[in-house]
Amino acid sequence: MSVDFAVDRQAWRHLADAQVNVELDTGDMILNLGPQHPATHGTLRLVVRLDGERVVSADPVIGYMHRGYEKLTEFRTYPQVTTLINRIDWLSSFANEVPFMHGAELLMGIEAPPRAQYIRTILTELSRIATFMLFLGEMGLQVGALTPPFYGFRDREHVLNLIEAATGGRFHPNFNRIGGLKDDLPWGWVNECRNTMKVVFDACNILEELVAENEIFGARTRSIGIIPPEVGTGYGVSGSNLRASGVDWDLRRDGKPYLVYPELDFKVWTHPDGDSYARYWVRLQETREAARMVVQMLDRIPTGPIMAKVPRIIKVPEGEVWVETENPLGQMAYYVISKGATGPFRVKIRSASFSNVSILPWLLRGVYVPDVITILGSLYFILGDIDR
């Protein structure tokens, strides 16, 4: 239909600037998702330009949680930095400490004893299970199912109880020390952990039935937000997001050896599709895999000391080291530059969610508004990880 109306501004003024012209161009609407919004996990602001219900362009605005960690680390001693970096990815906080501790230990030439390495690995995998349990539940919430998040939280509690029993803290254990761990495991923890892993397997099965096998969930997530592998790597997307696009790359197996992963037998899960469903599926399988790894390790924990010989005042010799680990959210790495003082000179914190979110402007073009929410949920970022 190509009719040209002449607009009489005076007569149509009360219709609030409605312009009728040739192609019925309605004009784009700018919608601010956030910074306070239930769908964006935390204070992420997404400025989307909409044409009806389709996204024309999206621009994430971050920095609402920027705490200036890289500057702060220059004013802290090495043990104090642990308290800071715990809070980068606050859902799997133990896993954040591991690469930094490993880096400091490499610089000092210290190796943590085997028992400490095993316990560190177990706690890292428990953090992974805790994070993913939450994801499996709240991904259902993103697409509208009200019940799965409760199951996710309920079963995550079991893992958090374990972490609390061992370290004293559910969320920010601050348990790592340069050279080992603060304390040994309490009596009976190993058996409790085995029981909890059984609960984790059951919970994964329940959530798979409730969410992953639901037809409506499939209709909402399949073919939504497809990340081609070359685009993903170019943007620095890592972790389960990249593995869901078919890239077989897991730093526990393929990076420099750290903790006890070289001794473990585990499978790296990939999915060829690269859509939101694939990302959900990969994390589901990885949760089960993490539980299997924990059971493997529980059978093999060696006895021995949990702390290596470490000087009273920690002075890390001059040098640079780069340590990257497979955190639940993706590749987390620290580039630690030391000048021989008691604190680092410069720490570059490479956090996974920063790169995962940087792909949003590319990924969100042309999708519907509900799909924006689905994609945000499936990428699974934590604001502390983006903003540091």
């Binding site: 890289e70 702060l72 790597t233 620095g236 790359w249 393929d254 010989k309 940087s358």
Partner: protein
């Protein structure tokens, strides 16, 4: 050692007694039952405290392993004299390239080195932070850094550098590339055309260090509000929280009751601020 001790749960009513009993039991064990172990631990701590030997001190000049040699060979083939220096840092190859070879280095990494994955791009400011001790009212809470400007692995021409790390998901290797940035006119070439993820990393680098990237579509603030002035991660930009108010932990310099007086002031400041870490080592010795 620790894993042989059985810890009994303390009932609420007699909790304080139980804790006191535990403490006294541990002290007894430390003093009487395992004097040899305590002695050994003290000896270990002394040994660890000893200054590093020649081998450890010369750790920086580690030779390159096979993967690193392969990577370096490919880079040299393509970049030629664009490479200024290269070294190894704990198994990772660090290569410093000339500023005008920065973009070419990215393209070479993506093509010849098959490094399809961009990890990060960031900056380093090698200038030592201005001394805060006595000038800032006696605030000794920050670790004391050396006052001379030294450069790290693969050296540097001046104060500012931009460095990046790329990896290959297929070949399972990676390389860190560094380039120098002129302090008077901080510019570097943008990697956006090769790695789209460089967009955000370069925005952050500009925001924090003031390094402009030629070829970047829109260098605007990423984390900080748009009216922000200054480049926070530069060493001459103070930590505003410490300028406004001295670090609150400074008050807490009294030792805990019952603790022996530490040997020197630095050790006491460290022990009081460390969250149990140093105190732990003191207990184990």
């Amino acid at each position: 050692m620790a894993d042989d001790l059985e810890r009994e749960p303390a009932a609420d009513a007699a909790q304080e007694d139980a804790v006191a009993e535990e403490v006294s039991v541990e002290q007894q064990l430390a003093e009487t039952d395992e004097p040899a172990a305590a002695e050994q631990a003290r000896a270990d701590a002394d040994e660890a405290d000893a200054p590093p030997t020649e081998e450890q001190a010369a750790g920086e000049s580690r030779p390159l392993d096979e993967t690193e040699q392969e990577l370096l060979a490919r880079l040299e083939r393509e970049l030629g004299d664009g490479i200024v220096e290269s070294a190894d840092a704990f198994g990772m190859l660090v290569v410093r390239v000339k500023p005008d070879a920065w973009r070419r280095a990215a393209e070479v990494s993506k093509r010849e080195l098959e490094c399809d994955y961009l990890s990060f791009i960031a900056g380093i400011d090698w200038q030592p932070a201005p001394r805060e001790g006595e000038e800032a009212g006696g605030d000794t809470s920050s670790p004391v850094q050396p006052t001379e400007m030294t450069f790290g692995v693969a050296g540097s021409v001046g104060r500012l550098q931009v460095f990046a790390h790329v990896e290959s998901t297929k070949r399972r290797w990676g390389v860190t590339l560094k380039t120098d940035v002129d302090e008077r006119d901080p510019r570097a070439e943008s990697w956006v055309t090769t790695y789209p993820g460089a967009d955000w990393h370069e925005r952050e680098c500009w925001e924090m260090f003031g390094v402009a990237f030629d070829g970047h579509p829109s260098l605007r603030h990423l984390y900080l509000p748009s009216e922000f002035e200054g480049h926070p991660l530069r060493k001459d930009y103070p930590l505003l929280a410490r300028v406004v108010k001295p670090w609150p932990g400074l008050v807490d310099v009294e030792p805990m009751p019952g603790e022996e007086q530490p040997a020197d002031a630095a050790a006491s400041a460290e022990a009081d601020k460390g969250d149990g870490a140093d105190a732990d080592k003191e207990e184990s010795s």
